[in-house]
């Protein structure tokens, strides 16, 4: 048993040792310990190094607000987590914990050289130091910042754990299981409300866990707690521990992160590591308590300097004394009780230093009875000790004069600058705060949510006050739900209430250039940095925050925000509320990506849509690519072929005989009704009135701004029925846009819209032998060029399956698209495949489709257009029904900037050296102009082409149509490529092959 463990004290299991490793050494704690309490029990305070200066740091709190003691925890490969707060990490046999931000060791850290050079790292040093010279950025500043930045080390392999996600609906959600939360739960549950109470700690109880000496309704605190929890469970209250409310969203939605297995030595395989709850509560009671503030003085960050309230928790909850010889430094009564409790178990209290002149008589009397020296009206002006504090310098204050300093030896310092209500969740919903001038802190004011705040969270102090307030707020919540509620009464004995005085940085007699009084421990921000920021012109706390990084670390300034504000306000000579409080944002504490992702990872990250013919493609060795949510066959390599070789072969085979392509992903919308043709006239640029049933037309869809949104071949099946196709990625957008116009602009039109994308499997046959292959399968239709010419459609049967047959082509070859009900897609594909063997049929994928269409000058919306391209820019003005009075986007085609010269226009490019261009490459007119060059456009599509005999490309180029035949230049990292501007149709410009 270590000398710091107090036998029989606390809620740890004294008979149950638990061993784990910290930085490779075995540490033995007790069941119920955290890493922090177990290390403190063996006298270790040094647990980390600070972020910027690499100063040695010890644990300073006992809760989730801990800024210093950040460690890595691991239970094997993939199960490593950086930046775990040692104060929250429960120990279990086999846990591996490591300190962070140090090399080679925690005791000796090379990075601490930053500390000696701290004058080089003033506030705003990021903005000042790295501005100049520009050439230093890539080679010096960025590598230095990257290697120095960040806390901890990222995990290097995939997380093998799984994470769960649940919804929860409850009448009353209570956040915080301290006295206020427990009392609120009783009131609400007794009124008949369904109550859920959550607490981030391993057990409910809150401040009661640190105050066993209190008596509630005649019972000692801990036995009252035990019977109260049993009673609440009997009342139907759900109590969830190890569960942090991470965010409070509108309309009473609260996000909870429940830690399920991190504390277990041997979790079951089917247990999720964490569970994210999305709670929708009729009413919320926030009973989160208050957080203790540090005092700001030179050297306030040495290991061994701990918040007084946390030292009380270590003693009474974990049975650990934080040291043998303590000095208490405070501006609040609460720290005195820590001194008294520690004195009672053998820690020598060398002094209680209080910044206040006058302190309560009963406290003075008790200190005197214990023989403790009391120094009121004193300040602290320094500490010493490299890896652990060994003395503290205190000075009397007379008026505004700091008197002679005196060193007091110690091995720990317990400090308290008073308490800040925990308002984070309350602020998440933009609820309003009010400045409490007396307490120099913010208190909750108005909220639009159905929410109450109880206890220390609204500035009340003491256990009785918390119980009474909690009971009342729980009753209010139940009443708001229409339930008759009463508040239980509570009488508390030995309640240790108190008050205090908020401080800015403590006065000192030292030369300020040599002092280091920390405000934000995690980001190493000192009081001096804050005052410098104000001197350099920062006026709002939001600017001060960003300039100094105060409150921007992973603890979101839980300890530092109010101290920072009070110091900045003092420097500005303004009242604090005029300087403002920075915004609190979810999550309340750092939350794993795993919990936020939940089930949405791997194959479940997004939907993968597969066509009915996908199994055949997979079986036949297709290489797939994602297109929107679809996975599509990109090419079908023969053994040993790379993509370029396979695509070249597929292109040649299709143009020579026949190729087969799964076009099922094309978006399909059925437009039906007496007003269908009028609707089509208004939506699409093209005229539809004269298109006869049985015919098809290329349809072009614009946005109201005149830019191309989508395109596709549209077949008129009958007077009142159109089969509209869209791009693969655009289907849902087009459908939404059509619905929008139909419902909100033209509700008078009698039209129905139905998405039929997944109802039809679509097989495209292309090539000179396409008809010969298809003809034997078709019944009830003459497929001859005369009877069924290009751009025809018909309803027929193909291989006995009901079909919609389109004679269309996206390759420039004789082409058919056969739509059959999705369930017959693969059967038809296989029949055509078998029959196609006599024609050396070739299955081709999206890559070959891209090449074949480019050779013919067909655009792909979204590749050759980018949302700023008009029909004229794309060279397809012919698709506009010029006689139509109106269609979506028509008026915009006359907008001044759209008719102005110099717009980027879609043209072809042929390189003069026969090399293939990079898609996305930028184009210039004069390759010898000074850098930065004027870029006049970019390459949108680029392919090797067998049919053309050399690589081809499309590009958008300013004024391109007037530059046909001219040379442009494409600067690349290794050379500049010259290319000639051409038209976009490279193959069969007369279209003879379509008409076969």
């Amino acid at each position: 048993m270590s000398q710091y463990r107090v036998q029989g004290k606390g809620r740890v299991s004294h008979g149950k040792p638990v061993s784990f490793s910290f930085d490779g050494k075995t540490v033995t704690g007790l069941g119920g310990d955290t890493v922090a309490s177990a290390l403190l029990a063996q006298g270790t305070h040094l647990m980390g190094r600070s972020f910027k200066y690499h100063r040695p740091r010890g644990v300073v709190t006992a809760g989730s607000e801990e800024p210093n003691a950040l460690i890595g925890t691991s239970r094997g490969p993939g199960r490593f987590e950086p930046n775990t707060r040692a104060t929250m990490a429960e120990i279990w046999p086999g846990l591996t914990a490591t300190s962070q931000n140090r090399w080679p060791s925690l005791e000796f850290d090379i990075g601490a050289v930053n500390d000696r050079m701290h004058k080089l790292f003033p506030a705003g040093f990021y903005y000042k130091t790295f501005m100049w010279p520009k050439s230093f950025w890539d080679k010096v500043y960025e590598p230095v910042i990257r290697s120095a930045a960040g806390l901890g080390v990222s995990p290097s392999v995939e997380d093998p754990d799984h994470y769960a996600s649940r919804y929860l609906h409850t009448d009353v959600l209570i956040v915080g299981g301290g006295p206020a939360g427990l009392a609120a739960a009783r009131s609400a549950a007794e009124a008949g409300a369904k109550v859920t109470l959550v607490d981030e700690n391993t057990e409910a109880g809150g401040s009661l866990l640190s105050e066993p000496g209190v008596e509630i309704n005649g019972q000692p605190a801990w036995s009252w707690l035990e019977s109260e929890l049993a009673s609440l469970t009997a009342l139907g209250v759900t109590v969830m521990t190890r569960t942090t409310a991470i965010g409070y969203y509108h309309q009473n939605m609260v996000g909870l992160c429940q830690r399920v297995t991190d504390h277990l030595a041997a979790p079951q395989d089917d247990q999720p590591r964490e569970r994210l709850w999305r709670v929708r509560a009729e009413h919320v009671v926030l009973a989160q308590g208050a957080l203790e503030k540090p005092l700001v003085f030179d050297g306030n960050d040495r290991p061994g300097i701990v918040l007084a309230g946390s030292a009380l928790t270590y003693l009474n909850r974990y049975g650990v004394r934080v040291g043998n010889a303590a000095v208490v430094v405070t501006s609040h009564d609460s720290a005195w009780f820590t001194a008294f409790d520690l004195a009672a178990v053998g820690t020598t209290i060398n002094a209680i230093v209080d910044t206040r002149e006058a302190v309560r008589e009963d406290l003075l009397a008790q200190a005197a009875a214990l023989g403790i020296e009391v120094l009121t009206g004193h300040t602290v002006t320094g500490t010493s000790g490299r890896l652990r504090v060994n003395s503290i310098r205190v000075n009397p204050i007379t008026g505004s004069t700091v008197g002679q300093g005196r060193d007091i030896a110690c091995d720990c310092v317990l400090m308290s600058g008073g308490w800040t209500p925990t308002l984070h969740l309350f602020s998440h919903t933009k609820s309003k705060l009010a400045w409490d001038a007396e307490g120099k802190t913010f208190l909750p004011a108005e909220t639009l949510e159905d929410c109450q705040i109880a206890g220390a969270g609204r500035g009340l102090w003491g256990i009785e006050a918390a119980l009474v307030d909690g009971a009342e707020m729980g009753a209010k919540a139940a009443s708001a739900l229409g339930k008759a509620a009463a508040s239980a009464t509570y009488s508390v004995a030995s309640d240790r209430t108190g008050t205090g005085e908020a401080q800015k940085e403590l006065p000192t007699d030292k030369d300020l250039t040599s002092t280091r009084a920390f405000v934000d421990f995690q980001n190493d921000v000192t009081a001096k940095d804050l005052r410098l920021a104000v001197r350099e012109g920062m006026r709002s706390i939001e600017h001060v925050k960003r300039y100094t990084t105060n409150g921007m670390a992973t603890d979101q300034g839980k300890m530092s925000n109010i101290n920072g504000l009070n110091i900045a306000a003092d420097a500005l000579g303004k009242p604090a509320p005029e300087v403002g409080l920075t915004t609190f944002r979810p999550p309340y504490t750092p939350t794993t990506f795993g919990a936020l992702c939940g089930y949405h990872k791997g194959a479940h990250f997004d939907v993968t849509r597969k066509t009915p013919i996908d199994p055949w493609a997979e079986e036949n060795g297709a290489v797939f690519e994602p297109v929107a949510q679809w996975r599509r066959a990109r090419y079908f390599p023969n053994t040993g072929e790379d993509m370029d070789t396979a695509v070249m072969r597929e292109c040649i085979a299709t143009r020579a005989s026949v190729g087969m392509f799964d076009a099922s992903t094309l978006g399909k919308i059925e437009v039906v009704g007496p007003d269908a043709v009028e609707f089509m006239n208004r939506m699409y640029t093209n005229p539809w009135t004269k298109l006869a049933p049985g015919k098809c037309r290329y349809g072009l869809l614009l946005g109201e701004d005149g830019f191309i949104r989508d395109d596709g071949v549209i077949g008129r099946l009958s007077d009142d029925r159109f089969h509209v196709t869209t791009t693969t990625g655009g289907a849902a957008r087009v459908m939404d846009m059509m619905e929008d116009y139909l419902q909100t602009e033209w509700p008078d039109l009698n039209v129905w819209l139905t998405s039929t994308t997944e109802q039809w499997a679509t097989i495209a046959l292309n090539g000179p032998n396409a008809r010969k292959l298809l003809e034997p399968f078709v019944e009830g239709l003459d497929l001859s060029a005369e009877a069924f010419p290009h751009m025809s459609n018909a309803i027929c049967t193909v291989a006995g399956f009901p079909a919609r047959l389109f004679r269309v082509s996206f390759t420039g070859e004789l082409g058919f698209e056969i739509n059959v009900p999705a369930r017959h897609g693969q059967a038809l594909w296989e029949k055509l495949w078998d029959a196609g063997q006599q024609y050396d049929i070739c299955a081709y994928g999206t890559e070959t489709m891209h090449v074949l269409r480019a050779e013919k000058g067909y655009i792909i919306v979204g590749q050759d257009t980018d949302g700023t391209v008009t029909p004229h820019d794309a060279g397809i003005s012919w698709a506009i029904g010029k006689k139509k009075p109106d269609f979506v986007g028509k008026r915009s085609l006359e907008r001044p900037d759209i008719v102005a010269p110099g717009r980027k226009q879609l043209v072809g490019l042929l390189t003069q050296d026969g090399s293939k261009l990079e898609e996305g490459a930028q184009i210039v007119l004069d390759p010898n102009q000074p850098i930065p060059m004027k870029m006049v456009g970019h390459v949108t599509s680029s392919y090797e082409s067998d049919a053309v005999g050399k690589p081809i490309a499309f590009a958008v180029i300013e004024g391109g149509f007037d530059k046909i035949g001219e040379t442009v230049h494409i600067p690349m990292p290794d050379r500049t490529i010259a290319a000639t501007i051409t038209g976009t149709v490279f193959y069969d410009p007369a279209g003879d092959r379509l008409k076969m």
Binding site: M253, L448, D740, Y741, Q743, P747, K890
Partner: protein, 100 residues
């Protein structure tokens, strides 16, 4: 995640079922060709961008599929009312009074 009432379904449902569709009561003119360049620009691009009560369109995308109108406070994210497409613009002063 907001809770939104669909005026067609008469149900209050999670935001995930809905899609946002921009400012409401900007009707497409019956004859766009009669619009000046400036008037057409305003129709296309100029929006009120209010801080406070905002008339806006939502679609119950994963439900009945209908577009409807809502008045939402852009500061608090609170819905003051929802109503069907085509119904007249509600009286804002009265809505704000009712919300008090």
């Amino acid at each position: 995640m907001l809770l939104i009432t669909c005026p067609y379904c008469q149900e209050t449902l999670p935001e995930a079922e809905f899609t946002y569709a921009g400012e409401a009561h900007i009707a497409r003119p019956a004859d766009p060709s009669s619009y000046s360049d400036e008037a057409w620009r305003d129709f296309l691009f100029v929006r009120s961008n209010v801080k406070g009560a905002h008339f806006e369109r939502w679609r119950h995308f994963h439900g009945c599929g209908r577009f409807f109108n809502a008045v939402r406070d852009t500061v608090t994210d609170r819905f003051l009312t929802v109503y069907k497409a085509g119904e007249p613009k509600p009286d804002l002063a009265k809505l704000l009074e009712d919300a008090e």
